[in-house]
């Protein structure tokens, strides 16, 4: 591995105070970044500063604090827009996260555009947040929900896609990077194929935007959704990016303060983008915190983050593969992101996570909110190690040693 990347990762660790924590006397090896990332000092400081010095409600009141809070809140939106190369910051809608962003699209664009005879296409590798909203809506509107199958090696079945994408398809909503398989789906190509039949495209970027450069214009995405907490930002904040003409045509999602132009007893008219979709007092500190996270990541460079994780993956994939009885889910090391889910003979993923925890290693165990995908592979749960910019090969070694220990403990 290139020493430059490693030296940089080691230096970046100092930005994350929690990484100095000990778990049961051992150094924390945090490999649950797919669930949520840790937060760097600049983000923590931004939140602290906001509450100490600038706290006020936004877009109301003409006092100094409200002006400051509003400026910070809108500057963050601008940083986020640049981060994903959105044509305008007015196309960046603050939500509480990926889940709310998808529910927003389902309940506004979906209700206005879907009915019997229409089809929404998703894939077998979706997170529950890109399945359940469509189940709920389908039961109300009577459209058909279809799934692109996943091949045994964890890729989307592109041949099946030809038959599934038809003029009946109104929306193709897919996961950019699988939170279980690590598969990086060819988002630009999938989007072009969907557009060719006239379908709109929603890309779930929850596991891509934090880990690689994502450019909404290059992808030609109609909608892109992601969560702040997986990319060094606070919880409670996420983004819906949409093409202007779509967002403008969509009815509002929630009604209340902040999202209106004019309210009379007889009815209301809506504010312009993006505020039309931001009813009520928003998560102000969180949005500003996400702005700080995006600035932090931009400073490091998303190309570097991606490269570093690919190097960790190249190191970890064969090492894990050497462990007897360990089966890695998903594609080989070249078409995947920096996360590895696996099952270990005779050791339930929960037990594995518990033994790893005793070694200070944090991994995720369970179905990772992707039950249909686990069903597809005939398993009920798996364990997942997911990397971020501050992880090191040494931590991979600690993981592997702890896995072997778990095998010893649970051997029958």
């Amino acid at each position: 591995m290139k020493t430059t990347t490693l030296d940089r990762a080691a230096a970046l660790r100092a930005d994350f105070p929690i990484l100095a924590r000990k778990i049961g006397g051992r150094r924390l090896v945090y490999l649950d970044n797919g669930a949520t990332s840790q937060k760097p000092e600049p983000v923590i400081r931004t939140l602290d500063d906001y509450y100490r010095f600038h706290n006020a409600n936004v877009h109301r009141g003409a006092h100094t604090l409200s002006e400051e809070a509003t400026t910070l809140y809108e500057q963050a939106r601008l940083h986020i827009a640049r981060f994903i190369n959105a044509p305008s910051d007015t196309q960046v809608i603050y939500t509480s996260g990926t889940t709310e962003s998808i529910n927003l699209v389902a309940n506004t664009w979906g209700r206005a555009n879907l009915g019997p005879g229409d089809e929404v296409l998703i894939t077998e590798m979706e997170h529950h947040s890109n399945i359940v909203p469509w189940h709920i809506l389908r039961d109300q509107l009577g459209f058909t929900l279809r799934y692109v199958p996943v091949t045994d090696d964890g890729l989307l079945d592109e041949d099946a896609l030809d038959d599934l994408l038809t003029e009946r398809t109104k929306l193709f909503s897919f996961i950019h990077v699988s939170n279980v398989l690590g598969t990086v789906n060819p988002a630009a190509e999938l989007t072009a194929r969907a557009h060719a039949v006239g379908a709109k495209v929603l890309i779930d970027g929850a596991q891509s935007v934090p880990h690689m450069p994502v450019d909404v214009q290059a992808l030609d995405a109609d909608f892109l959704v992601f969560s702040g907490h997986k990319m060094c930002g606070p919880t409670g904040i996420g983004v819906l990016y949409g093409k202007r003409e779509l967002l403008e045509a969509m009815p509002p999602f929630k009604g209340g303060g902040e999202m209106i132009r004019d309210v009379k007893m007889s009815g209301s008219t809506w504010a312009d983008l993006p505020h039309k979709f931001e009813a009520g007092t928003p998560p102000i500190a969180q949005a500003i915190g996400l702005g700080a996270a995006v600035e932090y990541l931009t400073g490091i460079g998303m190309a570097w983050v991606h490269e570093h994780e690919q190097e960790l993956l190249a190191y970890a994939y064969p090492r894990l593969g050497e462990i007897e009885g360990l089966r890695i889910l998903g594609p080989g090391p070249t078409r995947r992101s920096g996360l590895i889910s696996f099952i270990l003979d005779d050791v339930h993923p929960h037990d594995l996570a518990a033994v790893l925890d005793q070694a200070g290693v944090a991994v995720r165990a369970g179905h990772h909110c992707a039950q249909p995908l686990h069903d597809r592979f005939g398993i009920s749960a798996s364990a997942r190690a997911s990397f971020y910019l501050y992880n090191t090969p040494e931590e991979v070694d600690i993981l592997c040693a702890a896995l072997e220990k778990a095998q010893d403990i649970f051997a029958f």
Binding site: H348, P349, H350, D351, A354, V355, Q358, A365, G366, H367, Q371, H374, S380, A381, I409, F410, F412
Partner: protein
């Protein structure tokens, strides 16, 4: 790892279905997909025999083993009065809010068995 849990996991008591159970109930833990099925043979107001089957982590399966061992032979009414804290006390270890769901899965299946039996008689 807690040695008692590990021992029950590797050598579970009352493992396997009963030939002619009075009630059988299965449930899953929605957080991890673990599942436990419990069979009870009820007679004379008592749990005469019990058996379980399932797939899950050491904690959920050891909890089934420990629980069924404890309740077999006891009066149904007394077992119905058991609380989840009583169940956790049987395990005698510290359990956080996430693993608690694993630890309590067999207990909730057992209580569902007894509730079903009650309804069946009313």
């Amino acid at each position: 790892m807690n040695p008692v849990i590990l021992e029950h996991y590797k050598h579970p008591r009352r493992h396997g279905a009963l030939a002619a159970p009075t009630v059988r109930r299965r449930d899953v833990n929605p957080f991890c997909g673990d599942e436990v099925t419990i069979d009870l043979l009820l007679a004379n107001g008592r749990i005469e025999d019990a058996g379980f089957d399932g797939r899950g982590c050491s904690l959920s399966l050891a909890a089934a083993s420990i629980l069924l061992d404890n309740v077999t032979g006891r009066p149904i009414d007394a077992v119905r009065r058991m609380s989840s804290d009583d169940m956790l006390a049987l395990l005698d270890m510290e359990i956080g809010p996430i693993r608690r769901k694993c630890a309590l899965l067999p207990f909730s299946v057992l209580q569902a068995c007894l509730a079903e039996e009650k309804n069946g008689h009313e």
